[in-house]
Amino acid sequence: MTGSPQPVLQQNNGGISIPPFLSALTRLIFTLALTFIGLLFVTFIIGRVVPIDPLLSIVGDRAPTDVVERVREELGLNLPLWRQFLIYAANVLQGDFGVSTLTANPVIVDIKRFFPATFELATVGIIIGILFGVPLGVIAATKQNRWPDQVVRIVSLAGYSAPVFWLGLIGLLLFYAKLDWVAGPGRLDVFYDDIVPVVTGVIIIDSVISGDWDVFRNAVSHLILPASLLGYFSLAYIARMTRGFMLEQLSQEYITTARVKGLSETRVVWRHAFGNVLIPLITVIALSYASLLEGSVLTETVFAWPGLGRYITNALFAADMNAVLGGTIVVGAVFVGLNLLSDMLYRLVDPRARRVS
């Protein structure tokens, strides 16, 4: 919701004939590279500077001094901070986040294992959010200030206001314990574990690949509640933004022209106005997709969902800083990447954004 990409100003490049699209792209990539270095810097500060002594968490407070000194040298903690940072950045860029003290695996291996679960949850969530959020936003805009608009307004404000972990608990109480419509916490029932071979790590895809429909049904039954919950949160944002964009378009003169021509209202709204709304909507959807990855930290805790968010929180309680920071960098990088993607899509889809100013 917060990280809207800064519009990159296009400039005339004097005599050099670089296509404006490409030069804008290089500027964008340069900005992103800077942002990524900053990201590394912040995680470095959190990991090395904020704790009073990072050694303490590794060797404990009763280690003899010679052991402390040896570990300090092994970890490179005796070097000046700027050299430590360079080593750290070089390692991260090679995908080396260190070893998790909790699982004894390299952090990158853990992340690869846990990420598909988060990806599955967030992707199904955003699909639900788009399927319901966009039409609701359009309806609210066409019925501005009448009851459908008020209903959509209240539904989305409630989505902004409800704590996701609480709604998850209430959902489990209602739909799992009382009504028994969905399966409980976790990704699969215990007796379905490890049946389908891992191809993508996304169970609803893997089970289709191996043709095991029992596993597929069970996975969907586990997925539907947490994904709907995340979908509701993105729906709140998507519906609201869609409404705003639609109102802006519907007040334009070309809409009046289309109506005067005698086009049906459906065609005016969905073809003419909505066609123009699609472009800014890409950014909104990318941003809310990114925020679902974040929202999944709490959702995964409530639903015992073995994803990245739960990995980070578990590591946190085990004081496993390598895992915490590795997870943080990956989520941050996905955030930045989605921003880049939405910006590039924007340029590809909207001819005006390509034109030289």
Binding site: V42, P163, W166, E294, V302, G332
Partner: protein, 303 residues
């Protein structure tokens, strides 16, 4: 008689030629209030926020029991006449803990706002006023913090600092300031070249004085609107940290932490987790409605 008094008050407020600065200011406030109060949802939000403040202030008088007093004989008893919202796993009165929890919530939100508002305002105003490389550096730093998902960055900070309410406040503040810097910068850029700033400069005011005395006060209203809209987010982040056990530590009553303990009893003793969650929901809804209404009044171009 009464009617005549009201009309003269209105005349005094709405006059085109105010005699004093106070009169002009009150008149403006009155006009803003009139357009604000037409928005019923926003007024409803204001009522919720005022109620939160009152509950926090008068928690000792409003609560029926001690928020920390344990009584294991009546643990997990359902809502009844003496314990309106039931009791938790240590026999503490849930209603009283929610009343005192309002203090914790207000304390966190208040401190975060006090830290974040001025910092964002200052960074944004300096970046916008000086421009050039100062602007570039400050805005790149802002971008970096915006690139992190808020909750995850706050989690990482709390992991490094150690759990606790003070560290949670610091972590939330560190992750929350960038949007205000953005807002203040945008506002400053439009003000930078205006004539009153030139006038101040010609009178020999130092750049910092111009930023502090001429520019920052004018950025205040947009930053305040943004803050009100964000307060719900701050409350939810704080509650999330509390839920994960990283915020306020027991026995301090905090709504997020209360939900976290109620979690294991949710299937049979639903009241332990349900009521604190409702409290969070109502309060953040109040801030959202209020912020929405304020934005319509103070910042019509964004609505």
């Amino acid at each position: 008689m009464n009617n005549a008094v009201t009309t003269s008050w209105k005349q005094w407020l709405l006059t085109d030629e105010p005699d004093s600065r106070f009169q002009a200011r009150s008149g403006r406030l009155y006009i803003a209030w009139r357009s604000f109060s037409r928005n019923h949802l926003a007024v409803f939000g204001l009522i919720i926020v005022v109620a939160l403040i009152l509950v926090a202030l008068f928690a000792p008088w409003l609560s029926s029991h001690s928020p920390v007093g344990q009584n294991l004989q009546i643990r997990l008893s359902p809502p009844d006449a003496t314990h309106w919202f039931g009791t938790d796993e240590l026999g503490r009165d849930v209603y009283s803990r929610i009343a005192y929890g309002a203090r914790t919530t207000l304390y966190i939100v208040g401190l975060v706002v006090i830290i974040v508002g001025p910092v964002g305002l200052l960074v944004g105003a300096i970046a916008g006023y000086f421009g050039g490389w100062v602007d570039a550096i400050l805005m790149r730093i802002t971008d970096v913090f915006l690139a992190f998902p808020r909750l995850i960055l706050a989690l990482a900070f709390v992991a490094a600092l150690g759990p606790g309410i003070g560290n949670a406040i610091i972590a939330i503040a560190i992750t929350a300031w960038p949007p205000y810097a953005r807002v203040a910068r945008a506002e400053t850029i439009t003000l930078r070249n205006s004539e009153f700033v030139d006038a101040a400069r010609l009178q020999g005011a130092s750049p910092l004085r111009i930023v502090a005395r001429q520019i920052m006060p004018l950025c205040l209203s947009s930053v305040l609107v943004r803050l009100t809209l964000d307060m719900a987010g701050i409350i939810l982040t704080a509650a999330g940290l509390g839920f994960l056990g990283l915020g306020a530590q027991p026995p301090l009553p905090e709504w997020g932490a209360m939900i976290s303990t109620g979690r294991q009893y949710i299937l049979d003793q639903w009241w332990v987790a349900t009521f604190p969650g409702l409290a969070i929901f109502i309060v953040s809804l109040g801030f959202n409605l209020l912020g929405d209404g304020l934005r319509d009044v103070l910042d019509p171009k964004q609505s």
